[in-house]
Amino acid sequence: MDIQAIREQFPILNQDVNGHPLVYLDSAATSQKPVSVIKSLEEYYRQNNSNVHRGVHTLGTRATDQYEGARDKVKNFIGASSTEEVIFTRGTTTALNMVAYGYARHFLKEGDEIAVTPMEHHSNIIPWQQAAKYTGAKLKYIPLEDDGSITLESVRSTISDKTKIVAVTHVSNVLGTINPIKEISQIAHEHDAITVVDGAQSTPHMKVDVTDLDCDFFAFSGHKMCAPTGVGVLYGKKALLEKMEPVEFGGEMIDFVGLYESTWKDLPWKFEGGTPIIAGAIGLSAAIDFLEEVGLEQIEEHEKRVVQYAQEKLSEVDGLTIYGPKQRGGLVTFNIEGVHPHDSATVLDAEGIAVRAGHHCAQPLMKWLDVTATARASFYLYNDENDVDRLVEGIQRAKEYFGDVF
């Protein structure tokens, strides 16, 4: 992988921030966008903008072709069986909520159980908390090991015949833990439970094949994988999506509308009420082209190397705690002894280095780690070892700075 050539595709990276060349280490929050994605939006709005699925005019046909073409691209990208299984959403949060509303609230009852893990992002906890409250089902947590991973033994001992839904993240946005989705799905299916996978942190960084994972629902966001904000995907197995109720009602999703009764369109459109996220889907399609041209396997390998280098370099820094397992996705969450993560992030920002500080939308996990907040550096295909070196220098300066003032 030619990192320099890749970096040139991301014009935003070529700037100084606070007098230093920008080091962007916050891709787990949102990734930067390559020129091809930015251009795809411009081209759509300059030449093809129109509403989809209705106009008989030429622009309407072009927009529809592009929008449905994007769906087909997503289908191939994640290994779904058909485009009926690919629903465009606003993002991962919306996708997970759709399952919680349209599936869990309709089919769960008192005595049923929903299993989640303490490492979930709030978006894969709260919809289930709410669904549990609404249906009388019980929320259960698969316990974490000391390093923040889960074992299949723990999965087995948490899931029972009462379990109807197992909601788990593919890759933790804080610890970087990569969960064994395929095995978890297998255990869930032995108990006739379904799996709902938060793929927000995996899909941008590794080859995902939902058929191989055998998960029942899989959600991800475009903006973390080089696409614009405001577009995401809910994949679901066709039989389940057919059972699932729409969450939004209105235009686009209807078949026949009467005064008192209406019927829905077929999959996937019954879940896409209102004018859909046309430009977003087209941008996502361009992002998939870009990532596939580089190669998901190559991206995964590259990030593995960078994160391993980061773990090595950061573990040499005195007074620095790294959270999470050794084998991980492309991010490192840490704290500097005696320096609050907001303060370290501010000092790093003064050095042109963008990291995230806070609870990372994972308050239960913060509690488990027994910290109020952490700092997180997350990597993507445009980061390399030089960025890690700058981070380590920045951390040293934060230590010096706060060492001085104390």
Partner: protein, 147 residues
Amino acid sequence: MSFNNLDTLYRQVIMDHYKNPRNRGSLEDESVTIDMNNPTCGDRIELHLQIKDGIVEDAKFEGEGCSISMSSASMMTQAIKGQQVDDAMNMSSIFSKMMLGEDVEDIDLDLGDIEALQGVSKFPARIKCATLAWKAMEKAVANEEQQ
């Protein structure tokens, strides 16, 4: 931005309040307690006030957060202790103005150490850290008045 700019944020007096917080703890005879957090970053403050006859007789805080939020809480409790509730509220609005980068000279109230936080206004991402304690104070006063 150089470290000199950082110095406008992390003034010595701020670091002193962070390291040696004043009025940290709880009150036995408090009249009002407010728990407030900054949901975007996890900073949390529990503010205890003893308000009697329109005067803040005592103020203490507990909680966790960054140097800015905790030093601001320390300074705030120091500043409002012994003040009329109205003056405490005035200080809060002056503090808000300070965070917007407005000039707050020529005022009658003694702001004491609080002025050291003026530099925060140049760091938009950190303003919420500095205002957390003041927001808690405002809410505590509002709750007290409702009772």
